[in-house]
């Protein structure tokens, strides 16, 4: 299943700018193969729907995520992201 989302915020600059659009894929074939460098959209109980880059996949399968700026909100504050919270992998960036 594909979805279109609009990006708000600055933490993914310079690649992803405020107002850009992304198409995400939620099919298991995409989510099973997530790896460092992939950009994902996920739900967080405190911060809502977020878009972040995967820093690494932990041994337990959870994702360690970050933005692309030094002051980005990341897994040190968000915690590891469980796979069942991932809404999809970005497969198309429309800027």
């Amino acid at each position: 299943m594909l979805r279109i989302l609009k990006i708000t915020g600055q933490s993914m600059l310079p690649e992803y700018q405020d107002g850009d659009f992304v198409v995400i894929a939620a099919a298991p074939v995409f989510l099973r193969r997530l790896k460092a460098g992939d950009v994902v959209v996920f739900g967080h109980e405190s911060y809502g729907t977020l878009i972040k880059k995967i820093e690494r996949v932990a041994e337990d399968g959870n994702l360690i995520v970050s933005g692309t700026r030094a002051d980005s909100l990341d897994s040190r504050r968000l915690g590891p992201i469980a796979l069942d919270k991932v809404r999809g992998k970005v497969i198309w960036h429309i800027r």
Binding site: R3, I4, L5, K6, I7, T8, G9, Q10, S11, M12, L13, Y16, D18, G19, D20, F21, V22, V41, Y47, G48, T49, L50, I51, K52, S66, G67, R69, A70, D71, S72, L73, D74, R76, R77, I94, R95
Partner: protein, 163 residues
């Protein structure tokens, strides 16, 4: 073209938003608080030394002043450590700034030494280490820095953002 189409569609139907958050709540980091705290530590050490070199050492005034200087030295050494820990923990990323870890560890050790002792040398090392941290911090922001003596005692050389 596609983006313009999506923007028009977004105005009509409103796509769901994915937030690319920066740090919460404010994202405001500045090492100047730690720098001023470190300067205060040295200032208190100087006042302690001046008091000690005076003649009236057994008076209530002496003990009152010495107690106050020591207390402020304690507070500001801890404050400097706290402020550095915040920037280090919430702002710096280990993979992008690997050398900061060792520097922060040194600042923690120096801060503790400044609490445990009245060593001005330790105070000067604390100021220098936090200046080094400030220079790295401003570099990550793309802000040039300059060195100048603080316009108050102790007028040590400090790193300031050249805005």
């Amino acid at each position: 073209m596609i983006k313009q189409l999506l923007e028009a569609l977004d105005r009509r139907v409103g796509f769901e938003q994915a937030q690319a958050h920066c740090d919460i709540p404010c994202g405001i980091y500045d090492p100047s608080t730690a720098q001023i705290a470190a300067l205060t530590v040295v200032r208190m050490m100087d006042l302690m030394a001046a008091l000690e070199s005076g003649e009236q050492k057994s008076t209530g005034e002496f003990h009152n002043s010495m107690e106050r200087y020591v207390t402020v030295k304690e507070e500001h050494a801890e404050k400097a450590k706290h402020e550095i820990r915040i920037i280090w923990g919430d702002y710096f990323k280990k993979d992008k700034h690997p050398n900061v870890d060792d520097l922060v560890y040194r600042i923690m050790q120096l801060g503790s030494k400044c609490r445990q002792t009245a060593s001005r040398e330790a105070g000067l090392e604390l100021v220098a280490a936090i200046n080094e941290f400030a220079a790295i911090f401003w570099e990550t922001k793309g802000v040039k820095t300059k060195k100048a003596n603080a316009p108050y005692a102790p007028s040590l050389e400090m790193v300031y953002p050249d805005l």
